[in-house]
């Protein structure tokens, strides 16, 4: 098992290396002239030259890339152009709020979706099945921004059940600020997840081993909850793990809208101020998380499905 994990980690290095190259190309080479972005149009010739030198943009590209690579490896991403803060500090400050929003919201969605999808499959071809399906599909047809705007307007502004925006880093006082974004997060993703898990479970319901289970005299409930569910966990886990990186960046709209100083909010600010170093740092971290999520999902799948060996 450890050899397998070690091997997979070794395999990650070329991918992450590739990510740094692509990020560098996207931002430093393709990404327009950062100085122009930073200075705006009215910067004088001399000022631009000084700034270019200051930011080390006048050095040859390979050298710039090595500098960026060093930053990534040492997790020290230098200073933000907009606020001149040390980026690494900003990141560590941002992780707290982001995690406390997305992790609970994420797990509530998963638990609710799995329960709902089991319910739908159990009553398949019935009215409940049709109704829930229509409800989920309708849910996926509304943009996340509409959910956010309406959520804020009704729950916070009109009925005042939640604060309109803002955040308090106090360990127990933050939840009142995070409650509304969490509800919106669940509302946005539940439709898509339920449909996804429903098809994964339905895929298993028609397999031969289900007929064998029924031939033993088991009730339909046991057949579904024991035999079918455990087999459909594999596709479900893979799809959950694909969502993990969105935990950080996915909350972007929510954090920006509700003024929560998480990583998502940071990206929104960085985009507004074309703060290249912050965006590059976030890109690197987002992709490292994605790659680790893939590994974690393979390991989790191997716990559920004995056929996955570690040759």
């Amino acid at each position: 098992m450890l050899a397998y994990v070690a091997r997979r980690l070794l395999y990650l290095i070329p991918v992450i290396f590739g990510v740094t190259i692509l990020t560098f190309v996207l931002f430093n080479v393709v990404g327009g002239d950062p100085v122009y972005q930073k200075m705006g149009k009215h910067g004088s010739e001399a000022e631009i030259k000084i700034l270019r030198h200051e930011l080390g943009l006048d050095r040859p590209l390979p050298e710039q890339y090595l500098f960026y690579l060093k930053q990534c490896v040492t997790f020290n991403f230098g200073r933000s152009w907009a606020t001149n803060q040390n980026i690494t500090d900003m990141l560590t400050a941002g992780i707290g709020p982001s995690m406390s929003l997305s992790i609970p919201a994420f797990f509530i969605t998963i638990v609710l979706s799995i329960l709902l999808s089991i319910l739908i499959v159990f009553f398949r071809n019935g009215l409940m099945d049709k109704l829930l399906q229509v409800f989920c599909i309708a849910g996926t047809c509304i943009s996340v921004l509409v959910y956010v705007i309406l959520g804020q307007y009704f729950f916070a502004y009109k009925w005042g059940m939640f604060p309109i925006s803002g955040y308090d880093s106090g360990w127990d006082s933050r939840w009142q600020f995070l409650a509304l974004p969490m509800i919106i997060w669940v509302a946005v993703s539940i439709g898509y997840e339920v449909l996804l898990y429903r098809s994964a479970i339905l895929e298993e319901v028609f397999q031969d081993y289900v007929r064998t289970a029924r031939a033993k005299g088991l009730t339909e409930k046991v057949v579904l909850l024991k035999h079918v569910l455990k087999n459909s966990l594999t596709p479900i886990i893979t799809s959950i793990m694909m969502e993990v990186p969105l935990l950080i960046t996915g909350a972007l709209v929510l954090e920006a809208f509700f003024g929560i100083p998480g990583l998502g909010g940071m990206i929104y600010q960085a985009v507004a101020n074309s703060d290249f170093p912050v965006i590059k740092a976030m890109t690197f971290i987002g992709s490292v998380l994605f790659v680790l999520a893939n590994l974690a999902s393979d390991l989790l799948v191997s716990l559920v499905d004995p056929r996955v060996e570690f040759n």
Binding site: P14, V15, I16, G18, V19, I21, L22, T23, L26, F27, V30, G31, G32, Q37, I137, A138, T140, C141, I142, S143, V144, L145, V146, I149, L150, Q152, Y153, Y157, P245, L246, T249, L252, V253, A256, F257, I267, Y268, V271, A272, S274, I279, M282, T283, G286, S287, V288, F290, V291
Partner: protein, 299 residues
Amino acid sequence: MSTGTTATVEQNQVSSAGVSLWSDAYRRFKKNKLGVVCFFIICGYVAIALLTWLGLLGADFSVNGPDSYAAPSSSHWFGTDIFGRDVFARGLHGTRIALSIGLATSFIAIPIGVTLGAIAGYFGGLVDDFIVWFYNVVESIPDILKIIALGYAMGRGISTVYISIGLTTWVSLCKLIRTEFMKHKRRDYVQSAMAIGASHKRRMFLHILPNVFHIILVNLSVRFITAIKMEVVLSYLGLGVEPGQPSWGIMIDDAKLEMARGVWWGLTCASIFMFFLILAFTLFNDALREALDPKLRNK
């Protein structure tokens, strides 16, 4: 010498011409009422897009009217926006932008995804390893951040939206096509094509591609949904189409300020337009997938 005695008796041989898989899929699709209705809804949207593009419908979308934020009335079904422009007309033009985004991104993403997936799946070996490494790298960077980077490179505008979404959303199709090519490469009908001396090119494009084409079709309709929803988020991030353009993304983005002032019709109009288009695409897509699924043949 004809082995007449073993000539077979073919029943239900009504017409002499054969029923191809495509016509069989079409027959099955027609049976799915919901799918057909949604297909016509989509045609309706396409008609709106064409008419607005030719200026025959909602031509006054950019004409500044006298009273800004007028409530919905008989003259303005969805009222007017801050510049007094007719919201309903802008909604109609939003259809043109939404469909054009869906189409343009598909024209960019599908060829990339299919060619890379086909080459990786068919040839395997080092080529496959390189392409897998490449799409793992591209996939690892969250889509939003890739689009932001490309947005900077090309500046704000609809062509940027086309290219940035197009260049970032080809990975899922590439993976699908790769697995399909790997599966079909080993199938007997491709082995026998090899046995009669068919070249790699012929085997790839004459044998395997037609048999995986239904996946591309289904992927095409899914692409419209993701592209339309992505446009809204991009507008919010200030990376979407130019502010003046009548896109649903801009309308919804503007609504975040309007709602506080009780101006609900801008958001409602854009959301309703979007809701029915995405709903139509989703249901049409399910019906299409069922009709095209080779396993469910002449059921």
